[in-house]
Symmetry: C2
Subunit: 137 residues, 2 copies
Amino acid sequence: MLSKKTKYGIKALTFLAKQEGKSPVAIATISKSENISLKFLESILLTLRKNGILGSKKGKGGGYYLLKEATEIPMTTVMRILEGPISMVPCVSLNFYEKCDDCPDENACSVHSLMTKVRDNTLEIFRNTSLADLCNR
Amino acid sequence: MLSKKTKYGIKALTFLAKQEGKSPVAIATISKSENISLKFLESILLTLRKNGILGSKKGKGGGYYLLKEATEIPMTTVMRILEGPISMVPCVSLNFYEKCDDCPDENACSVHSLMTKVRDNTLEIFRNTSLADLCNR
DNA sequence: CACAAACCCTATAGATTTAGTAGATTAATA
DNA sequence: TATTAATCTACTAAATCTATAGGGTTTGTG
């Protein structure tokens, strides 16, 4: 299941991407428009900023804005920052790999092979979808 | 993330599928062979039985066995029983649909469209993979 | 009958998620 | 300079989920 954190994060990003110009948008504006709890959204935007997706401006007239063009932000990046591994099991993850305790031989594991297939497909989608693609509808 | 319940369930099922003949296999046997907590596995096999995947036999010489041929058990069925929805968001789910609280228009939602793509692809894999496919390696 | 196995119910520690609360800090503006 | 609007930080808390353990019951077989 996708966490609300990720869901809200994506919604906020598309909201920012749809903006004309690049002037900062206040959290409260996004929060109201997208029906997201303000304080929760605050922490989400913060992690997006800390991971180089967003820039921020403090004080009056401040807010958040995209650091790159929406076409230059692949969903793989967004998903990994917000949701973590794209793979459903750590032993299949490229960026968050972890060995299973119970599994003596990864290459003989039925779960491993199945989940590798799923990850490859999902990864392909996220790679080929940019933030800009989510705005066009 | 895939729950251990699902992971263990799949491992147990492939273990049963690999069995010669159809004689029941005791929980303890699977538990030891696959390094799965016995009591946890017990509850997993129980739900698989209640959902028509496994049969069971009580008493001495008892245990669990597949009710159908492994080739006749698609992974969609297994995943839905153990993990629940295949989709990452309820508003995209075919079998477990739920409307989002925050989203006024599903068709205008960026998350919705992205996750529909992911679901379609994942579903395709699970549909085309049977339990028997997981045993061949 | 005795035993071995599935079956069923309950509890629980720990983790994670989704917030809410309170306040500090920064920057623009009147 | 005082005010105000905004981000930033840290703590707390409720709710839910996960993985497992314990103990007792039932049922079938040898």
